[in-house]
């Protein structure tokens, strides 16, 4: 008798401790092509990234061949100067924004969750969304082939890319593409960062960590996008009010020497555009000498006001709230201390 009751309590405790998964609805599994456009599975999204990248890679390759045909002989008239500039802009833009960046997104999407043993990325729907933004960014760019493609180069330096010198709608299409793919790669990289790269490195070796690091520059894309937008002089429909000052316009008087452009190709990457222009770059992280960020730095260095005793917590942090100091201090330990 005693034995039976003992077993019963153990069973009860086990049942309580088991995590519960509640299902509110059961959907039939999607099949065929709908399974691809509705998927949030990181493996499927990774595959879609890679196939889309392959398609853009082929387009960019064809463009490269056209350029090389033009350059194959002196004084060739295969392409007009206008067409040549358009094609090399499309080629460069395709290879940078629609191949190199999302190629990593494809591999990382497929592999990182498997390598670190996660069921999926942190926010699968946002992950799917970022794929679709990438795709439609590419479509926005290639739609310009049917009216007038951009011709200011993939780097689109102002003032050449400004409305004044590139009045074509293709430049606007380029800007939309940079926005969509920039947001896409940022959200995609964020998905991987949320898997806590420190833990990933410690427990799973360097592979996933490297994938996350490679995606890191993507987090700086908005600087670039904003600068480019501002180059349209604020009258562009896509430019919000906060973007209306000419951040990278050299004749706006704020430029540093390196901002106008560069002699070396490497400086044209988004990363160095943001890091070498202390004032004109827009994120607080990269503009260390702007008044706003300086004041925030002093604010940070000031000692914090002592926390009220009710917010003290067993994990030792005075400003701990149950939300903030996970995982080192669990929700329950916080509530116990208060």
């Amino acid at each position: 008798m005693a034995i039976t009751s003992d077993t019963e309590t153990t069973t009860a405790r086990r049942t309580l401790a088991r995590p519960q998964i509640l299902s509110h609805e059961a959907r039939p599994e999607a099949r065929g092509w709908t399974s691809w456009i509705t998927t949030t599975d990181h493996k499927k999204i990774g595959i879609m990234y890679l196939y889309t990248v392959l398609a853009f890679f082929l387009l960019g390759g064809v463009e490269a061949l056209l350029l090389r045909i033009q350059l194959g002989a002196p004084d060739n008239t295969f392409l007009s100067p206008e067409k040549y500039n358009q094609i090399f802009t499309m080629h460069g833009t395709t290879m940078i924004f629609l191949v190199v960046v999302p190629l990593w997104a494809g591999f990382a999407n497929y592999l990182v969750p498997l390598m670190i043993g996660a069921r999926d990325v942190a926010f699968p729907r946002i992950n799917a969304w970022s794929y679709w933004m990438f795709l439609f960014g590419g479509i926005a760019l290639y739609a310009s082939v049917f009216f007038q493609p951009p011709e200011a180069g993939w780097f689109s330096y102002v003032p050449l890319s400004s409305k004044e010198y590139s009045p074509s709608d293709g430049q606007d299409a380029w800007i939309y593409m940079v926005h969509l793919t920039g947001l896409s790669s940022m959200l995609g990289a964020d998905q991987l960062h949320r898997h806590d790269p420190q833990h990933a490195r410690a427990r799973h070796g360097l592979g996933p960590h490297a994938a996350v690091r490679v995606d890191d520059p993507d987090l700086r894309v908005p600087d670039r996008a904003r600068a480019v937008l501002a180059g349209r002089d604020g009258d562009d429909a896509a430019a919000g009010p906060q973007l209306r000052h000419a951040l990278l316009r050299p004749d706006a008087g704020r430029a540093r020497r390196c901002c106008g452009s560069t002699s070396s190709g490497s400086s044209a990457t988004p990363r160095s555009t943001s890091s070498c222009c202390p004032r004109s770059a827009s994120s607080p992280r990269s503009c260390r000498c702007s008044p706003a960020s300086r004041s925030s730095a002093t604010r940070r260095s000031r000692p914090r006001p002592p926390a009220s005793p009710s917010s003290a917590c067993s994990c030792g942090r005075t400003t701990c709230s149950p939300r903030r100091c996970r995982p080192s201090c669990s929700r329950s330990s916080c509530s116990r201390a208060s």
Binding site: N85, G260, S261
Partner: protein, 113 residues
């Protein structure tokens, strides 16, 4: 551009439309021409001759045709060239001033009844 042999030539480079880049490979590296900003660079040619270069920053449809040429000559020749250019410019300016004065005179005479 005509420059004297064996002397340091200091360039102040800017642009009044889009960005360009000064590039004569035999005379040194590139230097950007950015509107609103003056970049400085220099070179010192040690051999007489003609040096050719090319705009090194995409500046529009005729970027490929934007070439540059530096002619390096001995100092005497440079001085002669410089004096001739200065005289030509002076003549052109005087001519322009004379024409302006004439136009102004004509306008003032036609305006007065």
């Amino acid at each position: 551009m005509v420059v004297p042999l064996g002397m340091t030539v200091i360039l102040r480079i800017t642009s009044d439309d889009v960005a360009h880049s000064w590039w004569i490979p035999a005379l040194g590296g590139k230097m950007d021409a950015v509107p609103g900003y003056v970049n400085k660079t220099w070179f010192k040619a040690t051999k007489v001759g003609t040096y050719r270069g090319q705009c090194a920053e995409l500046c529009g449809r005729n970027h490929a045709n934007m070439t540059a040429r530096v002619r390096v000559v001995p100092f005497d020749e440079y001085k002669a060239w410089f004096d001739r250019e200065a005289a030509d410019i002076k003549v052109a300016r005087d001519e322009g001033a004379k024409q302006r004065a004439e136009i102004n005179k004509q306008e003032s005479t036609t305006q007065t009844p």
